[in-house]
């Protein structure tokens, strides 16, 4: 790339140039290039060669800091779960919760939960994992310290009380229906109080200390993280000696690396590569819910976010509920899922393995196939006052990729489907950060925008309540609110499911969120050497990894 023709201000006197310039220049040049060449080929860390079993997982990145309380990035917490224990955690099969740092736990009354810690358990540096440490940790995450931002997600905690060395009580403000879910939410990871207070956050991020089954032996920020099994873990040393998270952003590079034996596992295998991988000896494809769903959010108000300033005179067609109903019936979810390449069509926004998702109703392929009804969509458009084939213009905003991938391709096909029933679609595709700043976070959704979200039930009712302050959900409905309130304080599981059933009726009817599909994670594993059962919650963490044939 030409930068400029004479940026250096050496002005060579042309008369002088006729004389020779010393031969040193030529030698220097040759020397420099030789040294560089030899250096380049010789240096470079050699790969570890020893008998330890080593599992390399290709992480698409980015990976965030080791201080687990300071961020919410799910895919970083996957990795942190190797290194940190929480009090309790979701079991791999999604059926309940398992003890980690706590040996056992019980509900004392509607608003008190008691945890019994393990005797003699320590962090990697020898600090005790006791009641005081638990109190310090939970108090840290539930208060705003610096820009540590998770405190509102822990606002259900009223107080943490140390009962004795190994017993700690957590009091909640009111009965908290999803206590176990929330107490194992991001930020639940226990870090050693004394060490942290001694070294501070920056140094902690360089040299973290946890109490999980693996210790960190090498850290290259957002590039490569090498973990080794910890001999003293309270529940026994894990089976695989070394687990490495290697950041490789491109799926195609991950596939090539897997075929070349550089890595042992990847997620999100691209469609055309699946056959080739499946046909390779020692590699097996696994599928499980990625716990991500794609939805289109419809604009239902003109007040929230930056919308009133950005588009002062714009009247979204989607303010009309009949337009929104036309949209939901115009979308062929089976087709969209096929375009995505790894997805199952859905109507409701909770993943199908949760009982709250009512898979028999909202994940049933036949019901969803019938839901796609262009004629019905046209009827709704007619009800909204649009003549046949003359539907309103919809602005559709989407990121290029989106969590779970394929956002752009899906949007292109969705636009075509909407145009088939009479809409005119103006599709804008942005890269992830531009999409976040210009559309999503600023509340500048004009008619429809993509939302790619996790699919747990715990926080969901909260999002649709009238007093929820984040933008884009403002389809305030008093009756729906009452159901949502009730869900959050109902501890009894069956009674809560009845409430959920009602909740979905509102969700479907009001059509603020148009659910498209649940993303399936297509993984490829080196089954020649390792055995792994994907977790129901979609977390790529490898505590339960084992060697093949053992």
């Amino acid at each position: 790339m030409p930068i400029g023709l004479n940026a250096g201000s050496a002005n060579i006197d042309s008369n002088m140039q006729k004389k020779e310039i010393t031969v040193k220049t030529a030698r220097l040049f040759l020397l420099v290039s030789l040294v560089a060449l030899i250096g380049a080929l010789a240096i470079g860390p050699a790969a570890a060669q020893d008998d330890m079993s080593e599992f390399v997982f290709a992480h698409s990145g980015p990976i965030r800091p080791m201080d687990a309380h300071s961020h919410w990035y799910g895919s970083t917490h996957w990795m942190l779960k190797l290194y940190y224990d929480c009090l309790i955690w979701r079991s791999a099969d999604g059926s309940g919760y398992v003890a980690e740092a706590a040996q056992s736990w019980e509900s004392v009354d509607d608003t008190t939960w008691r945890f019994h810690m393990r005797e003699g358990a320590t962090f990697h540096n020898g600090e005790p994992v006791d009641a005081a440490a638990v109190k310090w940790n939970i108090d840290r995450v539930r208060h705003p310290i610096g820009d540590i931002p998770l405190y509102q997600q822990w606002a259900f905690v009223k107080e943490v009380v140390v009962v004795d060395d190994l017993t700690v009580d957590i009091h909640t403000h009111e009965p908290h229906a999803y206590f176990e879910y929330d107490v194992s939410y991001n930020g639940c990871e226990l870090i050693p109080p004394a060490y942290f207070e001694e070294v501070g956050q920056e140094e902690f991020n360089r040299n973290p200390v946890g109490s999980g089954p693996y210790t960190l032996v090498e850290l290259s920020e957002n590039d490569r993280y090498v973990f080794e099994a910890w001999d003293d873990y309270h529940s026994g040393r894990p089976e695989v000696d070394r687990v490495i998270y290697q950041v490789i952003p491109e799926p195609s590079a991950q596939v090539a690396a897997l075929l070349a034996g550089q890595i042992d596992m990847m997620t999100g295998v691209p469609v055309p590569d699946r056959a080739a991988l499946e046909g390779t000896e020692g590699i097996t494809l696994l599928t499980e819910s990625a716990n991500i769903m794609h939805h289109y959010y419809a604009r239902v108000d003109t007040e929230s976010g930056a919308f009133p300033e950005t588009f002062p005179d714009y009247q979204p067609a989607t303010l009309d509920i009949n337009v929104r109903r036309a949209i939901t019936h115009a979308l062929d979810r089976h087709l969209l899922a096929e375009v995505h390449g790894a997805a199952s069509p859905r109507l409701a926004r909770v993943c199908s393995y949760y009982p709250e998702g009512f898979a028999d109703k909202y994940a049933d392929p036949d019901i969803i196939a019938e839901w796609y009804d262009p004629d019905l969509a046209k009827e709704y458009l007619a009800k909204a006052g649009y003549a046949d084939g003359e539907g309103p213009t919809l602005y559709l905003d989407t990121p290029v990729v989106g969590r779970g991938g394929g956002a752009k391709e899906v949007a292109e096909v969705a636009a075509a489907l909407l145009e088939e029933v009479g809409f005119t679609v103006d599709l804008t595709v942005r890269d992830a950060s531009a999409f976040a700043v210009e559309v999503q976070r600023s509340g500048n959704n004009r008619d429809l925008m993509l939302a790619t979200l996790g699919c747990g039930p715990a926080l969901l009712p909260l999002f649709y309540q009238c007093d929820w302050s984040a933008v884009a959900y403002n389809v305030c409905n008093e009756d729906w609110d009452a159901v949502a309130q009730a869900i959050q304080v109902t501890i009894d599981g069956d009674a809560r499911l009845d409430l959920w059933e009602q909740w979905w009726e509102y969700y479907i009817d009001l059509t603020q969120t148009i659910t498209l599909f649940e993303v399936t994670n297509v993984m490829a594993l080196n089954t020649g050497e390792f055995e792994f059962t994907p977790r129901k919650d979609g977390w790529m963490t490898f505590r339960e990894l084992s060697k093949a044939g053992m």
Partner: protein
């Protein structure tokens, strides 16, 4: 000589000041990055809290002064996302980028200079045409595309070279070749025309007429004089090399500064982007400064302004 060095140093400071202004204000064109950094479910209150913590609630001018005051002491702020000093992250990656740039420059030099000379000596021959064609091709090819094609051939089909990372010595081959080809192409074009110009000069013709052998003429007279423009272009090409490394590192998942920049830009981790940009600029300026100084050391007869 001393006056020259001092005045160039002063220029350097002024230039860096301008760089800092450009870098700082460009990164704030779209406001603060909190909206990207904060997760979906955050409330206005939480976002305001983060904004305050990072000082984005202060006037822009004040933010710049704070930035500058800290920057001169080497403190470029903390990465919003990694929660570690931005310069530390930059330095962590620097070694890899230098390694890659050095390997690419070595390839560029060892391939380009001889080819350029050959091309000039055999002007208008078939060989000249071939070299010119190849070097034009090298300039025209998008480097990232060349990288992808190399991956298809050497990693996917032949399984000879690793796809990503810098974990073994042979991992540097594909990225450095990808980066080196563009440089070699530009440099050989430059060498050719510099040589042609020198070959047409009176003193070379004189040397010829004195009956000196062709090779001696080329090496002793022409090449030495052609070196000056070649060195200048080499210095400028390093800028291209640094720029190219951004794209190439991202193709090969090479853990260098370029990939850090792309990763940070895409999530608007502005402190890291700032530190990286300033570092790019500083190394570019220093290298060209060093080249200027080398000129005088080698040949005091060169007049400087």
């Amino acid at each position: 000589m001393r006056a020259f060095i001092v005045s160039r140093l002063l220029q350097l400071v002024v230039t860096m000041l301008i760089v800092s202004v450009v870098v700082f204000f460009i990164l704030r064109l779209s406001g603060d990055p909190i909206l990207v950094v904060a997760p979906d479910f955050f409330s206005e209150e939480q976002i305001e809290q983060m904004r305050k913590f990072w000082g984005f609630d202060r006037p822009l001018g004040e933010q710049y002064i704070t930035f500058l005051r800290k920057a001169v002491t080497g403190d470029f702020g903390t990465s919003y996302l990694a929660k570690r000093p931005a310069m530390e992250l930059v330095f962590e990656r620097l070694g890899y980028s230098w390694l890659l740039a050095a390997a690419a420059a070595a390839i560029g030099l060892t391939v380009a200079v001889p080819l350029g000379i050959l091309s000039a000596l055999k002007r208008n021959s078939f060989l000249d045409l071939l070299i010119t064609m190849l070097s034009s091709l090298g300039t025209a090819m998008p480097s990232f595309w060349l990288g992808l094609m190399l991956i298809i051939i050497f990693s996917v089909h032949l399984r000879l070279l690793p796809v990503f990372g810098a974990l073994e010595p042979k991992a540097i081959i594909m990225p450095s070749v990808t980066l080196g080809v563009g440089m070699a192409a530009r440099l050989s074009r430059m060498t050719r025309s510099a040589m042609l110009e020198v070959l047409n000069q009176d003193y070379v013709r004189t040397a010829h007429s004195k009956g000196l052998m062709q090779n001696t003429v080329v090496l002793r007279h022409a090449l030495r004089n052609a070196l000056i423009p070649i060195v200048t272009v080499f210095g400028l090409q390093l800028g291209w090399l640094l720029g190219g490394s951004v794209v190439v590192e991202s193709v090969f998942s090479w853990p260098g500064l370029g990939r850090l920049m792309i990763d940070s830009i895409s999530v608007r981790d502005n402190t890291v982007v700032q530190a990286g940009l300033i570092w790019f600029a500083l190394s570019f300026i220093l290298i060209n400064y060093a080249i200027d100084v080398i000129y005088i050391l080698l040949d005091p007869r060169i007049r400087f302004q």
